[in-house]
């Protein structure tokens, strides 16, 4: 199928993200990119695990973390992953409007997550004087969680850009792969967060 073809709900393929060669390339390339991202986060996790007890006289993880906030944030992000699945479901059904709505919900949830994270960081800095420069633990914590946060921020800008750019013209085989890989990226961010929640927060409370 060709990129510029005008399509209807009937002619729209089942996997629009992989219907063209460009789409297939994007799809595969992005999966590979996520493979590289996995190594990136794995390196950050390893660094964090090596340094998490090095508090340098500051507050240790078990007394620091505000688990209720983090739990709410986790739920928000998990839900946003689900809503992005809905969006992709509607994309495959060529229902542009519903896709936009669900993407909108995803963005709002992501934004809420980000605000909570900012509040959380603010809280640590002002109540516990736990800064990125106060100890190796602080450096590793803010770098790992902050890198994730930067990914969330980038993802939000990305999805919003796609929504606005395509708001007038609807779905076609040129932009379907773009929406699809953005949602793939969003899932990846979600998976990374699950690891952060487990390794940083839950394991931080235990020890």
């Amino acid at each position: 199928m060709h990129v510029e073809e005008k399509l209807t709900a009937e002619t729209f393929p089942a996997s629009p993200e992989r219907a063209t060669l460009e789409g297939k390339n994007k799809f595969l390339g992005f999966w590979l990119f996520l493979g590289g991202e996995t190594v990136l986060f794995a390196s950050l996790f390893a660094t964090y695990l090596a340094l998490r007890d090095q508090v340098n006289g500051g507050t240790p993880a078990s007394e620091l973390f505000e688990l209720p906030i983090v739990f709410v944030a986790t739920m928000l992000l998990l839900t946003s992953s689900l809503t992005s699945v809905y969006a992709m479901y509607h994309m495959k059904n060529f229902d542009f409007k519903k896709m936009q709505i669900w993407l909108g919900v995803t963005v709002l949830l992501g934004l809420a997550f980000l605000l909570l994270e900012i509040y959380e960081f603010y809280h640590y800095v002002h109540h516990y004087d736990h800064k990125i420069t106060s100890s190796a633990f602080g450096s590793a914590f803010y770098t790992l969680v902050g890198t994730h946060g930067a990914h969330v921020t980038f993802g939000l800008f990305w999805i919003v850009t796609l929504m606005i750019r395509n708001s007038k013209r609807g779905l076609d085989l040129y932009n379907a792969p773009k929406f699809y890989i953005a949602s793939l990226y969003w899932h990846f961010i979600d998976v990374v967060w699950i690891f952060i929640f487990t390794v940083v927060y839950l394991m931080g409370m235990v020890v």
Binding site: V3, L28, L32, L51, S139
Partner: protein, 623 residues
Amino acid sequence: MSTLTQKKGFGATVWDYLTTVDHKKIAILYLIAGGFFFILGGLEAMFIRIQLAIPDNNFISAGFYNEIMTMHGTTMIFLAAMPLLFALMNAVVPIQIGARDVAFPFLNSLGFWLFFFGGIFLNLSWFLGGAPDAGWTSYASLSLESPGHGIDFYALGLQISGIGTLIGGINFLVTIINMRAPGMTYMRMPLFTWSTFVASALILFAFPALTVGLALLMFDRLFGTGFFVPQMGGNTIIWEHLFWIFGHPEVYILVLPAFGVFSEILATFSRKRLFGYSSMVFATVLIGFLGFMVWAHHMFTTGLGPIANAIFAVATMAIAVPTGIKIFNWLLTMWGGQVRFTVPMLYAVAFIPSFTMGGVTGVMLAAAAADYQFHDTYFVVAHFHYVIVGGVVFGLLAGVTYWWPKMFGRMLDETLGKVTFWLFLIGFHLTFFIQHFLGLMGMPRRIFTFLPGQGFELGNLISTVGAFFMAISTLVLLVNIVKTSINGPKAEADAWGDGRTLEWAVASPAPEYNFKQTPLVRGLDALWVEKMAGKKGLTPAEPLGDIHMPNGSFLPFTISLGLFVASIGLIYQFDDKVWAIPVIFIGFLITFGSMFLRSVIDDHGYHIHKEELMDDDDKGVKA
């Protein structure tokens, strides 16, 4: 838009190259930039050898020596060897698999410009207060201690060019997986394509570790974090791990494509198919896989304990097995063949014993207990130069001379080529063989001078003499290039007459769409199969039709430029310069603005129409 190369003005040509997304032109960009950095790194090497020619020499100062030595290693690995390999990959791989282009032409160009600006940024340090001086490994305690901004240039420069490399790696993976012509199954891919594939996978999984390491180093230096600061609870061993988790696969990223080049050349000029093709593929994949399991052999003396050392020692030795398989397969490829000694073949033939030397000293270094003596001595210097010069640089020289006619449409001069070869071969062994013994005799590496009376005098002098041979040989190569580009003979499609793979079926240089009709691949060594069947050209897999081409774009240049600008700001905000913060913003604005433009402006490319393709035929361009 016409498909024929027209005479263009200088400005138009420059603009063409600044905006090109054609893999063949990007290959030329990589070749020029990589060649420039190769010469730069070579000059740095000459400084090193002159300084070490005699004991207690004062040719350059201690601090400057460390800068030169650091930049020599960093330049040669990141800015010369990698881009030159990318030049060959870009020039050859898409054609070898019967594709019209790479999977992501835009990203291909972005990868180049990121590398280029990263390299320029790194070298700016020479003019802005001194180059990095902590070795190419930049071990954390020393690199944190290092005054000035040298290490900051290192961290940011490599970060930028590293992203470029990562993009290039993903691009080749997708290209090779998705863009192969009909019939080009995995087990029919030429070995150079295979090794590009495996090397790209290594890039994908190795470079992010470097990205993280460099980011942590930069945070520690510029923002006061404590990753590598023991007083804050930090640990410098983390840097060593991150660096070598990247650094060891990096060796294979460099050497595997070189292996691929030799596999092509040895088969071509022996007029025989590669002996044991499937075991060669298997060995390539296995080396790539094992390459990730052995990084700690660079850290035997760090104090990881005997269990870790023993495991990594044995794992490292294991790599010798697939490497050995390759050596013997190459020898047996020539066995019973019709060996023709062209210049590329000379390099390939000389590579076998030279690289074997480097390989066996690698096994010696793997013996952990003995490595306590070898580690950080000139024995190691000799070893990795045998691997990287004897393997990678020979591979590059071989590959560049082999595919030069395909890239530029002209043959290089064989006589001058042979002069280059012999000078280089003699110089190489003269320089590095003796260094094994210097190391064993107790000479540590990375020393700016040595005191007399320790028995190092003669060996160092011989080594320096050898270096001059290599320098002269490089000059002869340059003369060759200039001479033949003025009046060299035009190259045929099958420039060497013995071509076996698809790139020798298209014109030299290849038209921008590579294949007028996508070929049908009917076996390993697709062109050879057709030749043996008595055919002149390839069997097409599709009727003649319109060809879809990507549009050129200036955005890769600006995206990279933005990061370059932002990095300058990042370094100087540390000095509380008032202009630094705005510069950071402007830089990121350029980068993200360009990315935004790329995202919102549709780019559907254009078509070369059937009629124009027919016209080409009339003008005698064969496809």
